[in-house]
């Protein structure tokens, strides 16, 4: 075989392997989402761009940290085109669980609530957070459907592009099953008779300290030992005073894999956030009675209940801190969480 024949044979083999693995990559992520080939005047590309943990930073730079902070699988990206008009971008974020897709939507409950009907709208369980599963504003539609989080954005909003965006959203959720909110939400105290009202429109679910910091800044370091194995909720409460200057406090609930992990994380938090308080306080923190601290921005209280940590920040007085932490703590005790070691 001459050199040119060998080169030709090598190129044929290389090309065959390349095509095989390219096909395999798309095949690997084959899914049941049946997007329309055309929507209005916009036309779907031949194949989606596949983004996973290996190339997410190439696709979206530092924004990738957000998705890696949840249980992320991959993204399928379709850019619908229409001659010289602005494109419509469809991003399908395939997450490992419904909780993770819910978490992404929960980072911002703002926008116009959109209903596409069908099974996706019917929650199989009680709903505490906003009932919205799809939110629209300024050309961007965001939606949660089981383990799927979706962003559909018209680069220029027009009546036609809005119609196309809605058509795509409806096609994506069609025939998909509905999922409940994360279990952890059931422990949140939301009784109407309390002086503190849960801000359901500000409630967020997450697993990463970077995401926590983008909701409510705690520290530049991961002082609560958050990672993909934990579940966490930040839930603001506001005092019902009737005045326009309603005081907000921030309630943080975290579920760890076991009591040992929760206890260790609380010690880490105490050492980093409350370094002036003595070790006896840290020992006390392992009990289920809350600990209270007067800080620069108000009262902080925390408690450890089995594999759960509850912390409330920025309370105007110790009584408020006690009320919020005990009401939520009671929910954990009553609903069985404390005994799940």
């Amino acid at each position: 075989m001459s050199i040119s024949q060998k080169t030709f044979a090598f190129l044929v083999c290389f090309f065959t392997i390349f095509v095989f693995f390219q096909g395999a990559t798309v095949e690997l992520y084959a899914n049941a989402i049946n997007l329309p080939k055309t929507v209005g005047h916009w036309v779907q590309p031949d194949s989606p761009r596949i983004i996973d943990a290996n190339n997410i930073f190439e696709y979206m730079n530092g924004a990738g940290e957000l998705y890696l902070g949840y249980r992320f699988n991959h993204i399928e990206v379709f850019e619908y085109t229409f001659e010289s008009h602005e494109n419509i971008l469809v991003e399908l974020y395939f997450m490992e669980t419904s909780d993770d897709a819910f978490g992404l939507l929960s980072l911002d409950w703002g926008g116009e609530h959109v209903s596409f009907g069908g099974s996706n709208e019917k929650s199989p369980g009680p709903s505490l957070a906003s009932s919205a599963r799809a939110l629209y504003g300024g050309g961007l539609l965001r939606l949660w459907s089981d383990n799927l989080y979706v962003r559909i954005m018209a680069y220029r909003e027009t009546p036609d592009s809005k119609k196309a965006v809605y058509t795509l959203g409806r096609a994506i959720v069609a025939n998909r099953k509905s999922s409940s909110e994360p279990e952890l939400l059931k422990f949140l105290h939301a009784d109407r008779d309390s002086a503190w009202r849960l801000r359901k429109d500000r409630l967020s679910f997450f697993r990463s300290y970077l995401v926590l910091n983008s909701i409510y800044y705690i520290s530049e370091e991961n002082i609560l030992d958050l990672d993909l194995s934990v579940e966490a909720i930040m839930a603001p409460y506001e005092h019902i005073t009737g005045s326009s200057d309603n005081k907000h406090v921030q309630f943080l609930l975290i579920k760890y894999q076991n009591h040992g992990s929760a206890s260790k994380a609380l010690s880490h938090f105490h050492a980093a956030y409350l370094p002036e308080h003595k070790e006896k306080d840290m020992a006390d923190s392992a009990a289920k009675d809350p600990n209270y601290f007067k800080l620069e921005d108000g009262w902080l209280a925390y408690t450890l209940l089995g594999k759960y940590i509850a912390i409330v920040f920025e309370c105007p007085d110790q009584e408020s801190a006690k009320e919020i932490i005990q009401q939520n703590g009671s929910n954990i005790l009553e609903k069985g969480g404390y005994h799940e070691r």
């Binding site: 924004a63 957000l66 504003g137 300024g138 983008s214 800044y217 530049e220 002082i223 921005d297």
Partner: protein, 293 residues
């Protein structure tokens, strides 16, 4: 105990001790407060024109060019645009324009207008280049014009001026997590320090929420150009505008999270300029509605 190391927390931010904490970790000693309190003054100009964009957000090039001319003349005190440029750069400089390519990118029209203006001032075409990117881009230039777009950022609070040079670090992901407060150190790299002749912020259509991806609900037509030589002063003014816009949108305080501690650190730890509004002289002209200052 391993946690004896003091790390930045919310409490440092509330107490105003962020700079001292970073200073200790970066410089190895407590930041001298007296030095930080030295009297300084920085000029920041804001030129706005209500008609800089139409209702579809198309940029009017002629108006944008006028805004740039006004900015240069107001900022330098020179009589013509050409003289203004030549007071900032030399004809034999290799001038790097540094726009922002991501999240809320700098308008291409703005980069083109700046380039045309430099050409009109007599700067040879082959001495003007796009310098956004790797460290080699900055190394090849003798002067830099920073052209960021006004925006918040989900990892650093604000992502406008200081973050615009992140690629010059050669390792941008290093600043995603606990080092995000240290963005100022990039401006002190040997091949960057002292090269920035002007910071010109494209504030035509800013983004006031952190993203991490653009959400059009948080963009608005400010129709402005913000300029200065002191990058921290310009960032501080940008921060004020973004903060005011966020509060206006929600009708209640809506602080940036994480807080933009990189701005205070750029002042007090890296000595790049002032982050104190009382030390910043703001001169503005044009459209005054919703200045947010």
């Amino acid at each position: 105990m391993k946690d004896k190391k003091h790390m930045i927390t919310r409490r440092d931010f509330i107490r105003g001790t962020v700079a001292a904490t970073i200073g200790t970790s970066v410089l190895g000693f407590k930041w001298p407060e007296a030095e930080a309190k030295a009297v300084r003054s920085s000029l920041v100009t804001i030129i706005r024109d209500k008609k800089a964009m139409d209702s579809s957000k198309n940029v009017d090039i002629a108006i944008l060019n006028q805004m740039l001319e006004q900015t240069l003349i107001k900022f330098t005190g020179e009589k013509t645009t050409g003289d203004a440029w030549l007071s900032l750069v030399k004809p034999d400089d290799v001038i790097g324009l540094v726009p922002t390519p991501h999240l809320n990118p700098t308008h291409d029209e703005f980069v083109d207008v700046v380039k045309s203006s430099l050409l009109s001032a007599g700067i040879p075409k082959d001495r003007i280049r796009n310098a956004q990117g790797s460290p080699s881009k900055a190394k090849a230039c003798t002067a830099l014009i920073a052209l960021p777009a006004l925006k918040a950022h989900w990892l650093t609070g604000i992502g406008t001026v200081l973050k615009n040079y992140i690629m010059y670090s050669g390792n941008p992901s290093r600043y995603h997590k606990s080092n995000s407060a240290k963005l100022g150190e990039i401006w002190n790299l040997p091949f960057v320090k002292g090269k920035t002749r002007l910071v010109l912020v494209d504030s035509l259509y800013p983004l006031c929420d952190k993203g991490p991806q653009p959400d059009p609900r948080y963009k608005w037509a400010y129709n402005g150009l913000i300029a200065g030589i002191d990058p921290v002063a310009v960032e501080t003014v940008c921060l004020k505008i973004i903060t005011e816009k966020r509060n206006a949108i929600r009708g209640e305080p809506w602080p940036l999270s994480p807080p933009p501690i990189c701005v205070e650190a750029a002042d007090k730890v890296y000595g790049l300029g002032t982050s104190r509004m009382e030390e910043i002289k703001i001169e503005h002209s044009g459209w005054e509605q919703d200045m947010l200052l």
